[in-house]
Point group: D2
Chain length 291, copies 4
């Protein structure tokens, strides 16, 4: 297929490599030029503007946040490059409000807009094992399914509305954040009695919670290894804010998310914004007098 | 070994069967007489009072809560049956305060007091696969290790203080409760946008949270199958209260536990006390206008 | 002085009457035409567009929310009516972000922008007894002080930044909301023991909290008289959201505000959006099983 | 009347002086002997044991907490001094559970038990201007009303149950704590934008919240004058815990109280236990990075 791909960060670049390996032609654009050489050597075709990248049968975007999407698609007019009948698959995690706005803007141009945020970090993306949370027009989802099979191991469908896959992704991230906070509170409670945090977290992540989410974040807490961040606390705050906004729009109280927001802000106020969000444990420890 | 065993409920009875199979002699007592016949047929020796059960080399107790422990050991004087030099292994989940009080009462009688609450439900107990969280005097822990190997697959040691294993257990239960609440909030948020709760929970428990805790409670939420309860909401409230009390005594703020307590009370006030605590999802749903 | 006044709702109309009585000339504009006749009879000069109203020495605006301000000043270009050297006094309660944006837009036009939200309801406005929370350029504040003396009994200065008076107003509203929630929780707790809510609220508002805020909202709770609303729950939610946004931008955790947001959403989800926000007591009562 | 009075602390001593001035005979007992001389000079009759103090027509007690009450009435057997037909007026703030327990113990002895905690600090007690929150048997309340008129300016009746006045007192204290926390959050939010906390608190306590509770605590926050404490943060924590226990027993979620408990624990963990509970503002400030 003739593809465009916008956003060649740590996630986007290995995804492009997988698409190339699968035999697709990919026009690529990124704000910084750093990733382009390697991708060009692998067969990708760098272009000079997001508009040119968008002139494809299917455009995939993988950008950091709402502001980056707006900057590329609205300010830099990538939208204008999309031809009627093409599909735009936005794999970024964006707000419910932006998903709805983009769906409307694409509909005006007769372009199908598919939301497809993913679960999985860089190594999972490189292995083509992402879980893809998808929503959008049914026929567009069928058209891009073969691409999803290259990029991920499973696609989960949430319906027609562009916002639905975003809501599912934000809900999943809320659960990750809650797992971190729960591990933090429980281990600080144990630590308050002199129990080694490492022993407690080893026990809990070998028994009830023997999955990478708990094991990985638990280890970061024990080792106090918060930099370089796998996922920055400041980005965690953004995702929790988006979950709360989604909750507000649907009139759903989310008291755990509210606690998380306050604790993430506490972390921000103490210079933890660039640390991994596992450092929520430091917020708990600090409040307890650094036990 | 000559053992005593007090508390033959759904957990205690299969534990006694495992001890008998391993060749131990077990004097058993229970408040209600219902479980005694089967255990007697398997070789256990029913006795008429908790004092008689306590006259053993090692006494194991598995009772429901602080009140049951007080009733048996203090009011009904089971403590008086314990000979100097014997060991009492209390596998019940009790409060930090009671653990400390019992340790002192046993020390007065030169009886070693071991806290050993467990992770695992009835089927795990029957299979001898419990995870045993233990704390107490080091020599006593060595003496009872062979029993722990019969009852469980792994023993986790938390130190000398009787309260330490209790704190670890309460911290673990706090994490279970938080997992339930997080799943509830996230799935109600998804549901607020018309996403099927089943689809969302299937996705999340097949990917990030593919462990029995999330899968089991998630399924109960989707099926709204809250009775008969695997673990009653009223008991969950008790454990969260004990975690909060432990936090207060150690000056550890626990905002997730605080949210859980309020939501469990909301459940109690709506007649959910005898339901499985997975019905926290109904609290979230109700607050959101039953989305 | 030659004044313009935009926004002639329940607050704006009596404020214009006071300005007219004090001898000022006032050009008035409102989206709906209903209030214009009475004000014209009192000497105001209705104009056809917000741009015309803005062509004045000092323009005062009193609109409902950020969206209304944007609609009038940006979409309907009222900004373009403001001459260099004039002053715009915005007495609406707006977000910190919009206050900063407006200050910048006015500065480009060499127009002084003053934030001046008020404390006080309709009767206080009519009596010219508002408390005016003001921030903006010092010389502009001096120029409009005589107007503030007509409209209010006291002006409180918070500094130069346009956002400062907004922050002070949002902080004050947070305190009002907290007073309502505290009264609700305390009276439902008392009610949970069979104490008459009326007796409890009478006691507390005759002793420790003998001020109109508590007395007024307490009476509404006792009488369950939530309609017509003095201040709608949906508007309360908006103000708490703005306070939380202000907190997030300044990295200030606000756990009471977080509880308020969740409870206000609970109210929204149960059809209380048009009720007075005193009906937070119904949220508390409902959660407690309608005690 | 022949009275006994137990508990001659900062509140009890001036209350005894008022009773003496009104012509009553008062037998007094206190754990420490320090206050006895002054009271004896004023006409009180010191006795050697709480039992002797209890041998009176009406016994009044004013002690610090549940533990002090238990120590005096149960351990030191003051209960045994109460003659059938006498009345015990307990003006201490105690838990709901203890109030019920004491009511039952008194009933066994045919002694009427009246709960009568008060609103007001030392100066109010000295002026005989306390607000007295009372509950208990109707005839006993009538018998002691003349004493209440000496000690306070108004008696508020909450019914027959001994626990009712305690619940009302705990609910009132919850409202005070919430007022402190709300003032703290709002002023730290303002401070986060560079607004002087003093200016903000001056404004809010001159307008919406012009009552001594807000004015007094607000001033302590601005001056950071937390010692000597008017009411210690550790005692505030105790009262909030009692309110939460009362809420749990009646199945009433109290999310503000939950936030308060976590924040008070944060204060305890940072050495603020002996400071005035107005230092909740320091908890908010610390979480916000000491803005």
């Amino acid at each position: 297929m003739e593809l465009g791909f916008i956003g060649l960060g740590t996630m986007g670049a290995p995804m492009v490599l997988n698409l190339l390996k699968a035999g697709h032609q990919v026009r690529v654009w990124n704000r910084s030029k750093a990733p382009l050489d390697e991708l060009a050597r692998a067969g990708a075709q760098p272009v000079d503007s997001p508009i040119q990248a968008a002139e494809a049968e299917v455009l995939i975007s993988m950008l950091g946040d709402d502001a980056a999407i707006r900057s590329v698609f609205i300010d830099a007019k990538a939208l204008d490059g999309l031809a009627a009948g093409s599909v735009h698959v936005n794999m970024s995690t964006v707000s419910v409000a932006l998903a709805k706005e983009l769906a409307a803007l694409h509909a005006e141009r007769a372009v199908a807009y598919v939301s497809a945020p993913v679960l999985g970090r860089v190594d999972v993306a490189a292995a083509g094992n992402l879980n893809i949370l998808a929503s959008g027009p049914a026929d567009a989802l069928i058209r891009v399914q073969s691409l999803f099979e290259v990029l991920g191991r499973k696609t989960w469908h949430f319906g027609e509305g562009a916002e639905l896959a975003c809501v599912a992704k934000l809900s999943a991230n809320l659960m990750i954040a809650a797992a971190i906070e729960a591990t933090a509170e429980a281990s600080i409670l144990a630590g308050g009695y002199g129990i080694s945090r490492g022993t407690f977290i080893d026990m809990i992540t070998s028994t009830l919670f023997a999955v990478p989410v708990y094991q990985g974040y638990g280890k970061l807490m024990v080792d106090k290894q918060f930099e370089p961040a796998g996922f920055k606390l400041s980005l965690g705050l953004k995702d929790i804010r988006l979950a709360l906004e989604a909750g507000e729009a649907a009139q759903v109280p989310l008291p755990f998310a509210s606690v998380l927001k306050d604790n993430l802000l506490d972390g921000m106020a103490h210079g933890q914004g660039d640390q991994d969000w596992a450092s929520l444990s430091e917020v708990s420890a600090r409040r307890a007098g650094s036990k």
